[in-house]
């Protein structure tokens, strides 16, 4: 008699390489519910990540009169990105590059330490698929019930269950897309507008597109996104080495596998009783006993499933567990994990991470709140005035990056007897003082004229100096003054 406490499941790892023809209709995977520590951890991470996603746009942040009070906001219309105390202008997108580098290297570091932890626990595709499977289980029951339902003839109750399931999925999709758009506009206002049909078309279409992708990716395509669409499974191979912790089937301990009857001896055989529980829970439709494979997202649910089995047949847990490559070949059930966290690879990743982080922090802390651009007129290069002197024209752009109106003085240094004035400013001779509104860019037409005999040559170097009246913050821009051939 087969060990009565463990059910032997008739399941085929549909996504197993040998079982997968190049052109074959997808066979739907019906993962069984797993119970255990990793399942619990995954519920918690799902809760936390979803909470971050849904709550973030609603956090308020005081930025004074002229700034939005939303902590995280991508303001496309006004071309600003707000993130708590950070505020970025379009010309500072390199911070985003820095952020992306940080994210990529962190991912590399985590992957080299813990394998595809990102995939298994926090990737949106995983989190939402998990949520969708949860809904499916709630409505249609666990694996066996779902299989039966699939085979059952069309009936009102089957149709009702299907309808309910897909409706909930679509609601989740709408909520997903709905939360996304709040990152791009004032959340409370947009929420009201969404319901009163006053929101911009782009908001509705974004919600619609994201609803569709959420529904299709989480409900219909699921593991296919990871297996066929996502580049990450391919890249991970370069980050994983023999010291990386991954979900591992201890084959030396488990093999030779085979059904086991209660009371039978464990000598001359492996600990795997071939119950297929690990295959049944796998959302990717593979068999972990084939070893580390591209399709495995290391969700660790097979660990939970097998530990459950080991408990029932009174063997030590961990036939499937987090282990390094070497673990496969160690038949000792009490095997001690010897993890080398510090390796050349992790040191390199860590250094890059620290370096990029430090550079970003430095530039962020020293981010100037004044930016000046001086653009010389090129057409015409210079103008001869009636008294024979030479005039050049410039466009001076002043970016005031704080939420306060500021006054600046513009000065020109480096030309003898030069006169400078602003087209729309005070009359010639008076100091050039301009007022730039809070959080804004102002543009001024600057003219400089100098007697031709004072010019050293065709081109003279000059400085345009912009000084904040109050704080004395100063920005010096080098430019040139052009005249006729001497």
């Amino acid at each position: 008699m087969v060990n009565s406490s463990v059910e032997n499941i008739d399941v085929r790892p549909v996504n197993k390489k040998e079982n997968r023809a190049l052109f074959e209709k997808r066979e739907k995977i019906q993962p069984k519910k797993a119970r255990g520590n990793f399942r619990r951890l995954k519920w918690i991470i799902m809760g936390v990540t979803l909470a971050i996603y849904y709550i973030t746009p609603w956090i308020r942040w005081d930025r004074g009169e002229s700034g939005p009070d939303q902590a995280v906001l991508v303001d496309l219309a006004r071309e600003r990105f707000y993130f708590f105390f950070i505020e970025l202008w379009p010309q500072e997108v390199y911070y985003i590059t820095g952020l992306l580098i940080l994210a990529a290297i962190s991912l590399f570091l985590v992957t080299s330490l813990f394998g595809r932890a990102w995939c298994g626990y926090s990737c949106p595709q995983t989190v939402w698929t998990d949520l969708f499977i949860f809904v499916e289980r709630m409505v249609e029951g666990d694996r066996n019930a779902r299989l039966k339902l699939d085979k059952a003839p069309t009936s009102v109750s089957k149709f009702g269950k299907r309808l309910l399931k897909h409706s909930i999925w679509i609601v989740i999709g709408v909520l997903t897309g709905g939360a996304w758009v709040f990152y791009f506009a004032d959340a409370p206002t947009l929420l009201r507008e969404l319901f009163t049909f006053e929101a911009p078309v782009i908001a509705y279409s974004s919600v619609a597109v994201l609803t569709a992708t959420t529904y299709v990716f989480g409900g219909l395509m699921r593991e296919q996104v990871c297996t066929y669409m996502c580049p990450w499974p391919r890249i991970q191979g370069a980050m994983v080495d023999e010291d990386t912790l991954t979900v591992t089937y201890h084959s030396a301990r488990g093999e030779p596998r085979g059904p086991h009857k209660k009371g039978e001896s464990w000598t001359d055989r492996g600990h795997c009783i071939d119950c297929n529980q690990c295959v049944a829970v796998c959302p990717m439709g593979i068999d972990i006993r084939d070893g580390l494979q591209l399709e495995c997202i290391t969700c660790a649910l097979c660990i939970d499933a097998c530990n459950d089995v080991m408990d029932k047949i009174d063997l030590p847990r961990g036939l499937i567990g987090y282990d390094t490559h070497a673990g496969q070949f160690d038949s000792n059930p009490e095997r001690k994990l010897d993890i080398r966290f510090i390796r050349p690879r992790t040191i390199a990743y860590g250094l890059i991470l620290a370096l990029v982080g430090a550079v970003m922090l430095f530039t962020l802390l020293n981010r100037s709140v004044l930016d000046v651009n001086v653009i010389r007129d090129r057409n015409p290069l210079f103008v001869t005035l009636s008294d024979g002197s030479i005039r050049n024209g410039y466009t001076v752009k002043i970016l005031n990056k704080i939420h306060e109106t500021r006054q600046f003085q513009i000065e020109v240094v480096g030309l003898k007897n030069a006169q400078a004035w602003i087209e729309s400013g005070p009359p010639i001779g008076l100091p050039m003082i301009v007022t730039v509104p809070a959080d804004a860019l102002s543009s001024y037409k600057l003219f400089i004229s100098a007697p031709a005999q004072n010019l050293p040559g065709k081109t003279s170097d000059i400085d345009v100096v912009v000084t904040d009246f109050k704080s004395n913050e100063r920005d010096i821009q080098e430019t040139s003054f052009k005249g006729p051939e001497k």
């Binding site: 057409n379 015409p380 103008v383 001869t384 005035l385 005039r391 024209g393 729309s424 037409k445």
Partner: protein
């Protein structure tokens, strides 16, 4: 070809009955998604013929139910843009030109509009940077033939100079040689005198003779001191700016044959708001008075 369709053993697909050297061609059907896409495009095309302009006729084309045309949509866009600016344009038309500068938002609007109107209408003669060319004034400098305050510029643009408009301003540079008012020698003397106003000349006798010629014939318009006269659009002959170039040959030619260039009147071609934008823009180029 045989009448009975033969099936391929391996794939279970029909064969076409063609056979070359023992190789038989399979009659694999089109993938269904492909077929449906094709049917879909056919249906789409039929719908397109009905609602959009599609078929050429002898002198026109089928218009389609939606009545779309790219020319129409451009006109609509232009009308929308003008309508969107209606408020600013009205304000421009009703306001004193010299006061516009105090309203920075309106002023910016005027400068931008003026810049693009300039590129379309004026740059052909005055250059894209308004830098001018011989015979076409540089609008960046501070030398103005007919006045350089914004109202004077406005009037110049509106009615033109020597244009066919009734209100145009006219000044004439006569052809002293062609019309036999002066001899070649007199003209040479006058040119010497004019050049002596801004640089050293060698032939002082000619300069002296030229001064007399100038006083008799030129001073009426250009002024006793040759500083020019805006009533006639007569240029200042003492400054560093030369309308046609500071070259004796050019000056001789100007006096001998006269110069009467034309600035068209824009009042019938552009609306008042645009002319005002142009005036403000030209005034802002650095030489405005």
């Amino acid at each position: 070809m045989s009448d009975k369709v033969e099936k391929d053993e391996v794939s279970g697909t029909d064969t076409t009955g063609h056979e070359w050297d023992g190789i038989k061609e399979l009659d694999t059907p089109m993938p269904r998604w492909w077929l449906w896409t094709m049917y879909g495009t056919i249906i789409w095309a039929i719908g397109y013929w009905i609602v959009m302009p599609a078929w050429p006729l002898i002198s026109s084309h089928t218009a389609g139910f939606l009545g779309y045309s790219s020319r129409g949509s451009l006109e609509q866009e232009l009308a929308d843009a003008t309508a969107a600016h209606a408020e600013d344009r009205n304000a421009l038309v009703t306001m004193e030109l010299s006061a516009v500068k105090n309203n920075s938002q309106l002023y910016q609007f005027a400068l931008r509009g003026g810049k693009s109107a300039f590129a379309v209408n004026c740059s052909q003669c005055h250059g894209s940077g308004a830098q001018g060319a011989p015979g076409f004034p540089n609008l960046n400098d501070d030398d103005w033939l007919w006045g350089g305050d914004v109202d004077a510029i406005y009037e110049t643009i509106k009615y033109g100079i020597r244009s066919d408009h009734d209100d145009t301003r006219i000044g004439e540079m006569p052809a002293f040689l062609t019309d036999e008012m002066l001899t070649k020698e007199q003209i040479n003397d006058a040119a010497e005198y004019i050049l002596s106003l801004s640089e050293k000349r060698e032939d002082m006798a000619a300069v002296d003779r030229g001064q007399d010629v100038f006083m008799e014939n030129c001073a009426a318009c250009h002024g006793d001191k040759a500083k020019g006269g805006r009533d006639f659009g007569a240029p200042n002959l003492t400054d560093a700016i030369w309308f046609y170039g500071k070259d004796k040959d050019v000056i001789l030619r100007t006096i001998s044959r006269g110069r009467n260039n034309v600035m068209p009147a824009w009042v019938d071609r552009l609306d008042d708001a645009t002319i005002r934008q142009l005036a403000l823009y030209v005034h802002s180029l650095g030489g405005g008075e």
